[in-house]
Amino acid sequence: MKARVFVTLKPGVLDPQGKAIHHALEGLGFSGVQDVRAGKLIELELADGTSDIAIEDMCRKLLANTVIENFRIERLETAA
């Protein structure tokens, strides 16, 4: 099975990279972009039956720094 982990900065945490991307979009002439926040997508290839609790544990212990980041897990069941 596969799982995707989305790691995003908590609301209110300054995101200098998001700001730079925002400026670059404006520089390219895209108007109407109100805000940009950059995050990470981590794809995990897991043994079948890996529990949600185990994936959450991975997120808390390494994949996200919960001082500044939130995470969201999306399980992708592989087609049989």
Binding site: L14, P16, L62, N65, V67
Partner: protein, 222 residues
């Protein structure tokens, strides 16, 4: 004083730090590879050097914080052994949870590499006893991720408990309240972005960093 410098893959200030420690204490530190699970017997000072451990993959300091030696460092810290993390070492200490907050990308996005002004906010700690309270010193910084962030209640607690050791006297990287270095609640763990080992001898152009190591030596040797 029996010092240990922890070396991670990608550390690049480990040798400068070792030279600084040997010059001031008269004894070369043990260089301890990150895969070790124990520190040399009798280690009474641990230093985490600057650099780019694991290429800053995932987050600066994130992978190094989970390496085997860090369990021994955490145990030693809880027993009161002084631990100093400089630059990437500071990032490793926040990732390990030995210090609060996080070090994020510099607000201006640029790598900042220059001498900066610091104010010594706490001159009572075992690292800063050779400085005067409120003294202004100059120490070089060289980092991309030095923007210290923590929630307001954590910042208030750090300020209230005298745990802000150093504060920038100028805008450097966007850090909350211009914080450059903080102590843990017991006062034996210091993390700082500036590099005191780069301001040690007249040839460096400035010796303001030397007193940090001298103060430590005096406290540990006492």
């Amino acid at each position: 004083m029996r010092s240990a410098v922890i070396v991670f893959p990608g550390s690049n200030c480990d040798r400068d730090l070792a030279v600084a420690i040997e010059q001031v204490t008269g004894r070369a530190p043990a260089m301890v590879w990150h895969r070790e699970s124990e520190l040399p017997d009798g280690t009474d000072f641990i230093a985490l050097p600057g650099g780019f451990s694991y290429g800053d993959y995932l987050r600066s300091g994130a992978m190094a914080a989970r390496s085997p030696i860090m369990r021994a460092v955490s145990d030693a810290a809880s027993r009161g052994v002084p631990v100093l993390g400089i630059c990437n070492g500071f990032q490793v200490l926040t990732e390990t949870g030995l210090l609060p907050g996080a070090l994020m990308r510099n607000a201006g996005l640029n790598f900042v590499c220059r001498p900066v002004g610091l104010k010594v906010e706490n001159s009572q700690s075992l690292f800063t006893s050779q400085y005067d309270a409120g003294e202004n010193i100059i120490i070089p910084v060289a980092h991309h991720d030095g923007n210290f962030q923590a929630d307001a209640s954590t910042l208030d607690r750090l300020e209230g408990e005298g745990r802000v050791a150093f504060r920038y006297t100028e805008q450097v990287n966007g850090s909350s309240r211009n914080i450059a270095g903080i102590l843990n609640d017991a006062g034996n763990v210091l993390g700082m972005m500036p590099h005191p080992e780069r301001a040690l001898e007249p040839a460096h152009g400035n010796t303001d960093g030397r007193r940090l190591f001298e103060g430590l030596l005096e406290t540990v040797a006492a």
